[in-house]
């Protein structure tokens, strides 16, 4: 479990993390979303005790990271791609950390196997592809068999095979009762992997909700209607709690009216429909809506 209480980090005039209070629960995969510069990495570094908070606290499994006597068993982290010395072999990298962290030697072989790197364990990291480096980073995070796993952009640079591996791994770790907290800017990946979302924008917490709730809250589902008499139909559908947008001529995006009702009303008025499709809001759209500033967010309230 990760508990952030009023966590704040200031660099000069800039508030990188602004009074963030959130709890990341064990047993589920929690996605950490936000545009570049939103403060995700800084937050993760404060969780690991690498950066010192300006104010507030970050607790992992009940204590500040640095106060754990067995830190690598508490938290495993992948903080940035390729934080590896190019001249060292994958095995030596893991062995040195296992020794320093008081972990049994067998863990090195276990995580090499788990990340599919056993065959290249004796090779110098400098010759690794981005994807192999990323796998070694994940292996490093899992070295201590930690109760909490923190991964910053783990799927960056991975091929489809690797992306699937991370997804399966994250789900399995959560199913084992661990806390899994991972960031990504790939929304589609988040939608299929994360059960819960923590969203940051410009250093502030924007949302702390389940993935399903996040999608619903950001506008929910809509219906795409194509008709030669679209403008006329829009007038028929107008009402409280109904939003009708028209991005192109003859096409409407209707929210707040089910497909059946739209079809029936069109038929009653003798309006021909060329398309009537239920569409689900994408995570991208939801994210854009939530992280846009207030004025942009209000478009929903203006009927087209």
């Amino acid at each position: 479990m990760i508990e952030l209480r009023g966590l704040t980090k200031r660099y000069g005039d800039r508030l990188a993390v602004d009074d963030v209070t959130v709890t990341v629960q064990p047993g589920v995969v929690t996605g950490f979303l936000g545009p570049n510069g939103a403060g995700k990495s800084t937050t993760m570094r404060m969780v690991l005790g690498l950066d010192r908070p300006t104010a507030g606290t970050a607790l992992v499994n009940g204590k500040p990271y640095a106060e754990h006597r067995d830190p690598l068993r508490q938290v495993g982290a992948l903080l940035e791609a390729r934080a590896l010395h190019p001249g060292r072999t994958a095995r030596a990298h893991l062995q040195s950390l296992a020794a320093a962290g008081g972990l049994p030697r067998e863990r090195v072989d276990t995580v090499l196997e788990l990340s599919g790197l056993t065959g290249v364990a004796g090779k110098r990291v400098g010759g690794f592809s981005l994807g192999m480096g990323q796998r070694l980073g994940v292996a490093t995070a899992l070295l201590g068999d930690p109760a909490t796993v923190v991964l910053d952009e783990p799927v960056n640079g991975l091929d489809p095979d690797g992306v699937l591996w991370i997804r399966t791994l994250a789900r399995r770790l959560a199913a084992e009762g661990r806390t899994v907290f991972f960031s990504s800017h790939l929304m589609a990946e988040m939608a299929v992997t994360a059960d819960h979302l923590v969203v940051m924008g410009r250093g502030r917490l924007v949302a702390d909700v389940s993935t399903a709730e996040f999608l619903r809250r950001a506008g929910g589902d809509g219906v795409r209607v194509r008709s030669p008499r679209a403008a006329e139909l829009a007038g028929l559908l107008a009402g409280p709690d109904v939003a009708v947008e028209s991005a192109e001529a003859g096409v409407l995006l209707v929210r707040g009216v089910p497909t059946e009702v739209i079809g029936d009303r069109a038929a009653a008025a003798g309006i021909a429909l060329h398309e009537l499709t239920a569409v689900q809001a994408s995570l991208e759209e939801a994210f854009m809506a939530l992280t846009a500033d207030d004025r942009e967010y209000r478009t929903e309230e203006q009927p087209a």
């Binding site: 005790g49 067995d70 830190p71 001249g87 060292r88 962290g101 008081g102 068999d145 661990r178």
Partner: protein
């Protein structure tokens, strides 16, 4: 989740971790073997040519360095070795910052200061052993090719030979401290060379009545006293001078520990 009752991270584990890190980089071995071979070969070159009107023949060289003394000639390669070893000291620290492994290192040892100590202990041990071997071999080779070499039992000779190893170890650790403080390879190397090589030269341009009082406090000059059979009035006594150099190292490492406490990694 397996709950294994393993020992918590220990000093021994930290030392072993740093040892694995140092030995798994080829640069460590290149520098150590290069310094050893370089010291022996340069000693051989200087001692074997001394009788043919080499540097010892005309009494040249910087003031205070007796090039007529075969012992000094046999160990003169230390000048080159300190360059390479000092860079190694800087590099083993800054390499962690440039590659980003420092974050994994501190994640494993969040109190941070034990890492500074463990790194210094492992590197210091490696360099001490290597340069002691290098100095003894250089002395033996020098003794074989020149007639005037004083015996190991003579006054101060063993102190100079093993003192060379102590001096090189201290310079390496000074490099390590600068690496922690500056986090930049270029900055650390430049500062180390400035302190050890450049400042003594500039110091020689100072007025004669107070210049030497400044110069002898510089790390290289102070520590260098340990490598002289006889010291002049302008220089510290051998062990006093070495204590001054050790003082620089201790202050440097303490400053590094203090900086690491508050700084973001």
């Amino acid at each position: 989740m397996t709950t294994t009752l393993e020992r918590p991270p220990t000093t021994a584990g930290l030392l072993r971790g740093e040892w694995i890190k140092a030995r798994s980089l080829r640069s460590t071995w290149y520098v150590l073997v290069g310094s050893l071979v370089g010291m022996v070969l340069l000693g051989l070159l200087f001692t074997s040519t001394a009788d043919d009107g080499g540097p010892g023949g005309n009494g040249g060289g910087p003031p205070g360095v007796d090039f007529a003394q075969p012992l000094t000639l046999a160990l003169a390669g230390y000048n080159l070795a300190q360059l390479a070893l000092g860079v190694l000291g800087v590099l083993l620290v800054t390499g962690e910052y440039t590659s980003g492994t420092i974050r994994s290192t501190f994640a494993a040892a969040p109190r941070r200061w034990p890492v500074v100590v463990a790194k210094a202990a492992v590197l210091g041990g490696l360099v001490l052993v290597t340069s002691a071997v290098a100095a003894l071999v250089a002395y033996a080779v020098g003794s074989a090719v020149t007639d005037g070499m004083p015996g190991l039992g003579e006054d101060g000779v063993l102190r100079v030979v093993l003192g060379t190893a102590l001096y090189l170890t201290a310079i390496t650790l000074l490099g390590s401290a600068l690496g922690w403080l500056l986090r930049s390879t270029a900055g650390g190397v430049a500062t180390l060379f400035g302190l050890v090589f450049l400042l003594p030269i500039l110091g020689n341009l100072l007025p004669a009545d107070w210049g030497p009082d400044v110069v002898r406090w510089l790390p290289g000059s102070a520590g260098g006293s340990l490598l002289r059979l006889t010291t002049t009035a302008d220089q510290f006594a051998p062990w006093t001078g070495f204590a001054v150099l050790v003082g620089y190292v201790v202050v440097g490492l303490a400053a590094a520990v203090w900086r690491l406490r508050t700084r973001d990694a």
